[in-house]
Amino acid sequence: MATEATQLREIRALIAAHKRWDHVFGIVGLLAMLVGVVTLLALILDMFIDGYQRLTPEFFVSFPSRHAAQAGILSAWVGSALVMLVTMFAAVPLGIAAGIYLEEYAPRNWITELIEINVTNLAAVPSIVYGLLALGLFVYMLDLGSSIVTAGLTLALFILPVVIIATREAVRAIPGAMREAAYALGATKWQTTRDHVLPYSTGGIMTGVIIGLAQAVGETAPLITIGALTFIAFLPQAPLQAEAPYISFQWLFDPFTVMPIQMFNWVSRPQAAFLENAAAAGVVLMIMTLAMNALAIYIRYRYRKRIKW
């Protein structure tokens, strides 16, 4: 009897020892996550402290300048907005169409397999390689120059895999019964896709599109490669003109700069005054991308809560 009691005690001690490791790992896990969270906070705080003095209204409506105190980000944020517009119009229809094809239409054969391999492969190709592609293809072969349309198309190719993958996941999450119900009422494949599959997957697709655009807005390397300028003291031609035909697409072919390139240019300068500008531009850029990401997370959360199959 006594031996049984000691055995039981030993086993209990053993279990307690093992459970202690559970607690230890719980703490290690929390610490590891803190590294990420603390970095995010340190990054935002550090930039804000360095740059908040420059965050005046003039900063947003001034062109870059040789004098750090007068320099602003007008041409950069206008450039970013226009490039994003082109990227969105190119990547969103193409990416959603490709995602729908792969999920709803594609037969199981080698062509489909080839497309799928290419999607995953392109998602891991470094962004700078897209820049080289654009330099050779858009800038010189198609002679589009270092323009807004070149930049927009480059970033569109870059985020295409993100949009495709998000579309596929969103479409896959819709139960087959929804499609069967539509077919049973005589709908064709496209009618089913257009009236049921697409509307139900809007939340997931929008989340992917916004995350992709947030990546594109912060992307620098491929745009430097295609020859974006760092010192632009004018705006692209306005899309609306006072004279007939009133609408102009000349802005597509104007030279440009974007937020991250402007920031890179200021970081690369030795003078401390320009580093302040870089920090201020960084704060604006961070707010832009974080807001887009937060919006994406929110949309996904909302849709996940609302839809119960």
Partner: protein
């Protein structure tokens, strides 16, 4: 499968419309293949021009990369060493932290904690790389200099650490997906045998999700290799054949950024050299992607 309506009136207008839409969607999907082909064709075409002037042997074995000198030499090794050292530092930061976070989120974290931490990690993944570069140059490097005063202002250590932090979200979220795909019964079997949570996580769940986790690691290596702006800002632009992360060195991508920032005449040797460097970078990531693809396929077949 064709639609049912088509079976009633095969030649109707509706049927043609259906086929046309399917064809358009197919063309959209093919654009992905076209992109890959275009990347390969452009890089190979411009590189061929480069290798007419520089022999492949010199390119792969010369230890000097001085394309802008009067007497230029084109040995890719210094750029490759810079790329590998910064990527290695990054991976050494991202893989342990990312894996611990993944295990914690998948096996330990209460639902509430996960709901808060996952979006925060996603935000960390959404920070623009140029901002990370600023962070590496102006916050991490000065911090490291207080520990190791001899550290130069441009160094691969600080760039590598920040690359690692930027890659953590990818490692943690992909590894966590792989772990959560492990069926619940396998865990319960382990608990029934008297294993604790940590024992189950380390000896049952992690091995079962191994190929998915390794695929996440491989993606993180290829992201670290391709990372451009952090190294261009914080690691310097001087090609330097060294394996010491405390020194500064240019990477392949930093070279491309540095050179294309200036005015390169189209068709010049300097212009072609960025494509040759880009081709090396593409081949490195392509090799990793192929391994990753193979592993993912195996992992899909497990359950």
């Amino acid at each position: 499968m064709s639609s049912n309506a088509a079976d009633f009136s095969p030649r109707s207008l509706g049927h043609i419309k259906e086929r046309l839409i399917e064809f358009l969607l197919f063309v959209a999907a093919l654009s992905v293949v076209a992109t890959t082909i275009a990347i390969v064709v452009i890089l190979v075409y411009e590189s061929l021009g480069f290798f007419e002037h520089v022999s492949v042997w010199d390119f792969l074995t010369d230890t000097q990369w001085t394309p802008l000198f009067y007497n230029p030499r084109y040995g890719i090794l210094p750029l490759v060493s810079g790329t590998l050292v910064t990527a290695a530092v990054g991976v050494l930061v991202a893989i342990p932290l990312g894996t611990i976070i993944a295990i914690y989120l998948s096996e330990f974290a209460p639902h509430r904690v996960r709901e808060i931490i996952k979006p925060l990690l996603e935000l960390l993944g959404g920070v623009p790389s140029v901002v990370y570069g600023y962070f590496a140059l102006l916050l991490v490097t000065p911090l490291l200099q207080t520990i190791y005063p001899g550290l130069p202002g441009f160094n691969m250590l600080s760039a590598g650490i920040v690359i690692g932090i930027s890659v953590i979200p990818y490692v943690s979220s992909l590894s966590e997906d792989a772990m959560r795909a492990v069926p619940r019964q396998i865990r319960e079997g382990s608990y029934a045998m008297g294993a604790t949570r940590l024992q189950t996580a380390l000896t049952v769940v992690t091995p079962a999700a191994a190929s998915g986790i390794v695929a996440a690691y491989i993606l993180s290596i290829s992201l670290a290799i391709g990372q451009t702006m952090i190294v261009a800002i914080a690691a310097g632009t001087q090609p330097n054949l060294t394996w010491n992360p405390l020194e500064g060195a240019a990477t392949i991508s930093a070279y491309i950024v540095q050179v294309s920032g200036g005015d390169l005449p189209h068709g010049s040797l300097g212009y072609q050299s960025i494509f040759a460097a880009g081709l090396v970078l593409l081949l490195m990531t392509l090799f990793l992607n192929i391994i990753g693809h193979y592993l993912r396929r195996r992992y899909r077949e497990v359950y």
